[in-house]
């Protein structure tokens, strides 16, 4: 029975491949604009894995798998899968929040679609596996994928290393039981990865402090975000990449001090109100404050931006355009 469904899935697989690719593409654009270093992978589940899972679940008496019809996507929510791996421990939550903002989540834990894996779940299991899992609905602008769902996993790169080993050794191992020595070695890897996470987190904190206090030159959007977060003492939202691309042409060297952050946030908020901008974020407010002091230059910059940075956030660009153009939204 598993094979029949796997064969049906094989015919449908292109749909899930398309969905996973599109979701990965949109998330990569958004993660980059918020200057969160990452990589994104995506896949449609292999038909063999689908058949194996169906056989296993049915042998366990899981009703919904026994009664599964031709549309396997109603039962198996990971036929389309995307994985976001962030380089900096601690940014997983930011990445997961981006997923929630960009897409509509599938129905909540109360739904009977999948009670084994609720749509929003942070796993910190005793065995050490750590990742966020979100089930998102396909965007409604593509008739070929509408109605399908995709599982998005989020973890940091250190956890990713451990998760992969743990998955292969303890989850996929079908006929063999790991020896005690193997379990001990896996536990050692788990401890070392935790230590590495803490060390990297400490390193990034120190670097952020250096960038903001020593007037170090900001070389990329990530350093700008880190410097701003150090000054504000919280995460920074919005299209930091466009803010960086604009400001690095205005100062030499560019340091976080040039933004006069706290003052600029107030000025930006006032300008946003005057312009009638309803949805704001940190990068937008800082961009408005900067643009207000360099209207002629920013007007020039906007023309170049359209041509060379097509992924720049529409909201931020529109607000700046309104400011330098002198009209209200």
């Amino acid at each position: 029975m598993g094979d029949e469904h796997a064969e049906v899935y094989r015919l449908q697989r292109a749909r899930f491949d398309r969905l996973a690719g599109e979701i990965a593409r949109r998330l990569a654009i958004r993660l980059r604009s918020e200057s969160i270093p990452h990589f994104v992978t995506f896949r449609s589940k292999h038909p063999t894995d689908v058949a194996n899972k169906l056989t296993k679940k049915r042998s366990e008496g899981k009703r919904k798998y026994i009664e599964a019809g031709a549309n396997l996507g109603d039962v198996m929510l990971d036929l389309a899968g995307v994985r976001i791996v962030v380089y900096e421990p601690g940014l997983e939550k930011r990445a997961a929040d981006i997923v929630r903002r960009e897409f509509v989540l599938a129905d909540g834990p109360e739904s009977d679609i999948d009670c084994e894996k609720p749509p929003i779940e942070e796993r910190t299991q005793a065995d050490g596996y750590r990742a966020s899992h979100l089930i998102v609905k396909a965007p409604d602008d593509d008739p070929l994928t509408i109605g399908a769902v995709c599982e998005v996993q989020v973890c940091n790169i250190v956890a990713h290393v451990f998760n992969e080993f743990e998955h292969d050794i303890e989850y996929k191992l079908k006929k063999a039981t790991p020896s005690e020595k193997t379990k001990q070695a896996l536990a050692l890897v788990r401890r070392r990865t935790r230590e590495l996470e803490e060390a990297v987190t400490d390193l990034m904190k120190r670097h952020k402090r250096d960038v903001s206090t020593q007037e170090l030159e900001i070389n990329d959007a990530q350093e700008l975000r880190q410097g701003l977060e150090q000054v504000l003492g919280r995460t920074v939202t919005g299209d930091v990449e466009t803010l960086f691309n604009m400001s690095r042409g205005f100062f030499s060297p560019l340091t976080v001090h040039h933004f006069n952050v706290r003052n600029a946030m107030e000025i930006g908020a006032r300008l946003a109100t005057q312009l009638g901008v309803m949805v704001t974020d940190d990068a937008l407010l800082l961009s408005l404050a900067l643009a207000d002091t360099k209207r002629a230059e920013v007007s020039d910059f906007l023309a170049e931006l359209r041509e060379n940075h097509p992924d720049a956030s529409g909201g931020l660009v529109d607000a700046i355009r309104q400011l330098v153009g002198g009209s209200r939204l």
Binding site: E215, E217, N219, N245, M246, R248, G249, F250, F251, S252, P253, T255, H258, A296, E297, D300, F301, A303, E304, L305, N308, H309
Partner: protein
């Protein structure tokens, strides 16, 4: 003509009125310097030498000073002050050496057809020095339209380093 003429330099310098005091470009991109080099002249036509590597340039838009920095291959254009010191004329050969040295300094990363420039403004804090933080505006010149436009691309760090505004 693919190089920057004095008119193009002045247009760049005055792009935002008198907000920025100087325009830095790569000497290898300046037409008058290219022409002087090709014709074996130490001083470009219609330029007057006023210092070892400084020239006075008079146009219908006024009087300007072009300073050549051979060590970094940069030509800086600024408006002439009312009391411009003349440091004495030196031998043409020395100026020629400076010009040819300047031509070799344009970074390879920038060479591939891009004509870039940086408006240099006031220092932001601290004493005046070549590496003090400054307001700048990075630009790219379109030789077909003969217009300057904002530039926010990947060559900015190279420009800032090679134009001498940040330490290497």
């Amino acid at each position: 003509m693919s190089g920057l003429t004095v008119s193009d330099l002045i247009a760049g310098l005055e792009r935002f009125s008198a907000k920025y005091g100087a325009l830095d470009v790569y000497a290898a991109d300046v037409f008058e310097l290219q022409q002087a080099g090709a014709e074996g002249r130490a001083v470009p036509e219609n330029w007057t030498q006023i210092g070892p590597t400084a020239f006075s340039v008079t146009t219908e838009k006024g009087k300007f000073v072009a300073e050549l920095k051979p060590e970094v291959g940069v030509l800086r254009l600024r408006r002439a002050g009312t009391t411009e010191p003349i440091l004495g004329v030196i031998g043409g050969a020395l100026v020629g050496v400076g010009v040819s040295a300047a031509f070799s300094k344009k970074p390879e990363a920038v060479i591939a057809g891009a004509i870039l420039g940086m408006l240099v403004g006031a220092t932001l804090s601290g004493p005046e020095s070549s590496t003090a933080a400054r307001q700048v505006f990075t630009m790219k010149f379109n030789p077909v339209e003969r217009q300057w436009r904002a530039y926010s691309g990947a060559l900015i760090p190279t420009m800032k380093q090679s134009l001498g505004l940040t330490p290497a």
